[in-house]
Each structure stands twice: as structure tokens, then as C-alpha cells.
């Protein structure tokens, strides 16, 4: 066999530091990363002597999913949970956005609100449940309130940071073109911060979902989080699995929707 011609430089391999990865290789590794844990799960659960209550297998979980869908009105649980998370999240975002613009723009507002917010965000959302029941009651708004408490304070701080990261040169250029304070905030600071703000919304949306189970601790009788809690009481481990996986999947879909919106809204960031 003739030796391959020697051509000094070669395409670096995928294991070079920050090396390249083709699309096909990417999907190969991604599939591997999903299938290996699934295989391990399946393997472990089908070992002799592993109790189904302790670790149900993929098939058990799938059957439970089908049963829940056909007999137990899964979709109404899904929708009510999506509704609660979305409401808590939207209310939180609607209040956090203007506050963050003020905190990130005006130092007195920062001094007034940031230490307070920093303090409150370390308080555990679960611990607010009794207070929420006392003040808000036990209807829908109480679950929304818990999700709000879980996300709002973190969201304000992160958004304020996004606003503060707007390059000073962009702000000052506007000022030397004659922009007044309001115009600078509206036409420069807000516009410049938008991509980062949407990214913060995406991240905090994920966190809002993690508060769902906590929120549905409050006198709920429907929802994915509630179903998980109830399944625990009846030792329906397979149902707990279904609930957790569904919450994960919904979160993943929402995350991807946010990413898509980001690409559509800010095309200049995705030119390559």
C-alpha cells in the first residue's frame, strides 16, 4: 500500500483542546449521553431482586404514563401546572423588569433595593407557605404566589446586572448626540440589555419549574407537583418517575422555545 502523501498540517482531532466536532459526531455523542443512562437504568431495574417500588424500570414508567393519560386525565394536571408556573413567572417578570432597569441605571435605587433583595432571596420559598396561606388564602393565587416568591428576587438581581453590563460608551455616545435621560434609558440601555434580559428570563423560567412541587404543597388537588407528592404517599414510585420526567421535558421544551425566540429577536448575534 502506498504511503499517504505527507501534507504538513492536518485537521486537528476532536480531542485537541477546544478542538472541532462535526455535526454528525455531535449528535453521536449527544445520543450516547442520553442512551447510556437509560441503558444503565434499564439494566439496574431488571436485575433480579430489585423491587419495583424501589426502582421501576423504563417499561413500568411508560405504562404508568399511558395509564395516567388514559384513565387519570394527565393533560389537566399538565395544563394546570403550566398555568401556575407561567402566571408566577410572568407576574414576576413584569415587576422585575422595570425595577431592574431602575436599579441598574440609578445608584440611589440600587442602594435602596439591592441589599434588601439580596437578603430576601436567601429566604427559603418553602418557609413562606404558612404566610402565603394566611395572606393569600389557599386558592390558585397561593400557588402562583409561591412560584413568584421563588423566582422574583433572583430575577431582579440578575436583570439589574444585565442592565449594568450595557457598555458605558453606548450610553455616553447617545448623551453626546443630545439624548435626555428618558431617551437614553428607553433607546439605548433597554435596547442594549434586551438579549441578556431574555436569556435571564430563560434561566429563571427553569427555576420557576423547580418551585412547582413546593407550590403544589399548598392545598392543591391537581398538577404534576401535587401528583408526585400524592404518589409518594401511595408508594407509586413509577408515577413519581413520570412526574419528574414530564417536568423535565416541559422545562426543556420551554428552554428551547426561549432559545428560538432569542435567535429570531436578535439575529445580529447569530451571524455565523
Amino acid at each position: 500500500m502506498p504511503a499517504a502523501p505527507r501534507t504538513g498540517a492536518r485537521r486537528p482531532g476532536m480531542w485537541t483542546i477546544r478542538g472541532p466536532l462535526s455535526r454528525r459526531q455531535y449528535w453521536l455523542f449527544a445520543a450516547l449521553g442520553l442512551l447510556v443512562p437509560l441503558g444503565l437504568w434499564w439494566g439496574t431495574s431488571s436485575l433480579a431482586g430489585v423491587d419495583k417500588v424501589f426502582l421501576p424500570g423504563p417499561a413500568d414508567v411508560f405504562n404508568r404514563l399511558v395509564a395516567w393519560y388514559t384513565e387519570d386525565d394527565l393533560m389537566s394536571d399538565v395544563w394546570i401546572s403550566i398555568y401556575r408556573v407561567t402566571m408566577g413567572f410572568v407576574i414576576s417578570a413584569a415587576i422585575a423588569l422595570p425595577l431592574a432597569l431602575l436599579i441598574g441605571t440609578f445608584r440611589p435605587v440600587q442602594a435602596l433595593l439591592e441589599p434588601l433583595t439580596d437578603f430576601i432571596r436567601y429566604m427559603p420559598a418553602v418557609a413562606f407557605i404558612p404566610l402565603v396561606m394566611l395572606w393569600v388564602g389557599i386558592d390558585e393565587s397561593s400557588k402562583i404566589a409561591i412560584i413568584f416568591i421563588g423566582t422574583f428576587f433572583q430575577m431582579v438581581l440578575m436583570m439589574a446586572e444585565d442592565v449594568r453590563r450595557v457598555p458605558l460608551a453606548q450610553i455616553e455616545a447617545a448623551q453626546t448626540m443630545g439624548a435626555d435621560r428618558g431617551e437614553t434609558v428607553k433607546l439605548v440601555i433597554f435596547q442594549a440589555a434586551k438579549p441578556a434580559l431574555l436569556d435571564t428570563l430563560r434561566v429563571t423560567m427553569g427555576w420557576a419549574w423547580t418551585y412547582l412541587v413546593v407550590a403544589e404543597l399548598v392545598a392543591a388537588n391537581s398538577g404534576l407537583g401535587y401528583s408526585i407528592l400524592k404518589a409518594q404517599r401511595f408508594l407509586q414510585t413509577d408515577k413519581i418517575f413520570v412526574g419528574i420526567i414530564l417536568i423535565g421535558l416541559i422545562g426543556l421544551v420551554m428552554d428551547q422555545l426561549f432559545r428560538l425566540a432569542h435567535r429570531k429577536a436578535f439575529p445580529w448575534l447569530y451571524l455565523r
Binding site: P167, A169, Q170, E172, A173, M177, G178, D180, E183, L187
Partner: protein, 281 residues
């Protein structure tokens, strides 16, 4: 010659309390209308601070700065500023960036049909002047650094500022691009006739562009020497090799070395060594 900007005994101290930094001390300078003045000096000698004070982006702590005889009150459209980078709006196209001032209340005063047309014509003219016509609809981050600075200059010129302040506008560009930009900015100065204050750390750039070169010295920031540039008003690249040019360049470089950093750094090293010796003993 009419004085456009009058800087009188200006001082600037940063930081209240513990560690005040005297960025400028007793700086006085008159800049004539339509002049092109360049500022050089070691880093930290207060060039940017002085320019920002004229632009109204920073306030001085003593003395007075007058533009057309009136004290400055914050930034304004009569004094446009071009920064080294990151000042373009990445969400707007090149054309929209240049027309940005038209979105402002201030730019929309007495907005008649004729004004809108005139503004649109001016934006096109500036685009052509900067050689950017083909890039009108591109986003800034699709352009090279040199092109981005052209957009920034066109945008600053859009509102017909009487004063143009430039803080190391070509500092991030490569040498070839910078030469092209030099001739471009000289052309702009001839055409638009703004009063131009230009900060740079490149002595050659300062001499080639400026009618006067103001050399500043650090700690505290002050004006050390003002050089009249002995070159004809119309500059050409070849002039950079004339004896007068080279002599002035050598003189300024030597003076910067004398007044600046090197010596202060040496002082600081000496002091550190002294402290170390004391600690050891």
C-alpha cells in the same frame, strides 16, 4: 481667530475621601474655532479626563471650561464624541446607527418634510463620504474595526456638531487601516469644519493630524508643552519622512519619556525596594 473652547485653570480630583487622585491640575488652553488639536502623553496623564470634561461626561472640580464663552452644562449635541470602541448600537443597521440622533426629541424639533429629506440626504452623503454606501444595511458586527469606526464618525457628524471629540478612535486599528483613517479624518475636518480635539498615544498620529500637539504629563495630570506643527495645512503621507516631522517626533518622544511613566515607575520600584529592606531589617 475666534476661541471656541476655553479651558481655564481646570483641575479634577477623582475619589472623595480616602485616596483622591489628582487627574488634572491647573490646565489652561484655548482652542480656536475650526482648529485641529491633538493630545499626547503617557497613559494616566489625564487626556481622556480632559476630553470627557469638554464633552460634559465628567465634571471638573476647579476652574472653568467655556464653549463659545458659556460654561458647559453636561453633554450636548453640539459636542459629539467618538470612542475607541463599543459605542455602536449592535441592534441597529449601519444606516440606523448614523441616523440615531433623528430618533431623539432634540433631533425632531421643527421637523418639517424638508428637514426629514435633508437629514436623509445628509445620512446618505456621510455614508458615501465614509465609503460605507455598500454597508448601509449591514449590522455593525459584520464590519471590520476600521469600518465600525467610520460608522461611529459618521454618526457623530450627523447632528452637525461644532466640536468633535475623539478619544483614541484608531487605537484598536492596525497600522494600514489607521493611515487610511488619518486621511479620511483630515478630509472630514476640511469639509465639515468642526473644532477637533483628538487624543492619541501615537506621536506620529498626533503630529500628522494636529495643527497643534498638546503634550500632557502625569501625576498630577497637566499640560507640559504645546508644539506648533511646522507642516503645511494640507497633509500628505510623505510628510512623515521630512526632517521637520522626524525632528518634532523625536523631540516629543524624548519629552514624553522624561515626563512620564518610566521615571515614576522607577520611583515606585525604588520605594518598594526600600520598604522591603526596612521590613527585612
Amino acid at each position: 481667530m475666534r476661541i471656541k473652547i476655553s479651558i481655564q485653570h481646570v483641575g479634577k480630583v477623582f475619589g472623595e475621601g480616602r485616596q483622591p487622585v489628582e487627574a488634572l491640575k491647573d490646565v489652561s488652553l484655548d482652542i480656536a474655532d475650526n482648529a485641529f488639536v491633538t493630545f499626547v502623553g503617557a497613559s494616566g496623564c489625564g487626556k481622556s479626563t480632559l476630553l470627557r470634561i469638554i464633552g460634559g461626561l465628567e465634571y471638573h472640580t476647579s476652574g472653568e471650561v467655556l464653549v463659545d464663552g458659556a460654561p458647559i452644562m453636561g453633554p450636548g449635541a453640539d459636542r459629539a464624541m467618538v470612542f475607541q470602541h463599543y459605542s455602536l448600537y449592535p441592534w441597529l443597521s449601519v444606516m440606523e446607527n448614523i441616523k440615531f440622533s433623528r430618533r431623539l426629541r432634540h433631533g425632531r424639533e421643527n421637523l418639517r418634510e424638508a428637514d426629514v429629506e435633508a437629514a436623509s440626504g445628509r445620512a446618505d452623503a456621510l455614508l458615501a463620504l465614509m465609503g460605507l454606501s455598500a454597508a448601509a444595511n449591514a449590522w455593525p458586527n459584520q464590519l471590520s474595526g476600521g469600518m465600525q469606526q467610520r460608522v461611529a464618525i459618521a454618526r457623530a457628524l450627523m447632528g452637525r456638531p461644532q466640536v468633535l471629540l475623539m478619544d483614541e478612535p484608531f487605537g484598536a486599528l492596525d497600522a494600514q487601516t489607521r493611515e487610511v483613517m488619518h486621511d479620511l479624518i483630515l478630509h472630514v475636518h476640511r469639509l465639515e469644519k468642526p473644532t477637533l480635539a483628538f487624543v492619541t498615544h501615537d506621536v506620529e498620529e498626533a503630529i500628522y493630524l494636529g495643527q497643534r500637539v498638546v503634550l500632557m504629563a502625569p501625576r498630577p495630570g497637566r499640560i507640559d508643552t504645546i508644539y506648533e506643527v511646522p507642516l503645511p495645512a494640507e497633509r500628505e503621507q510623505d510628510m512623515k519622512h521630512t526632517p521637520e516631522f522626524l525632528a518634532l517626533k523625536r523631540e516629543i518622544l524624548a519629552r514624553i519619556r522624561e515626563t512620564s511613566g518610566m521615571k515614576a515607575d522607577q520611583d515606585m520600584l525604588d520605594q518598594l525596594n526600600l520598604q522591603k529592606a526596612e521590613a527585612a531589617s
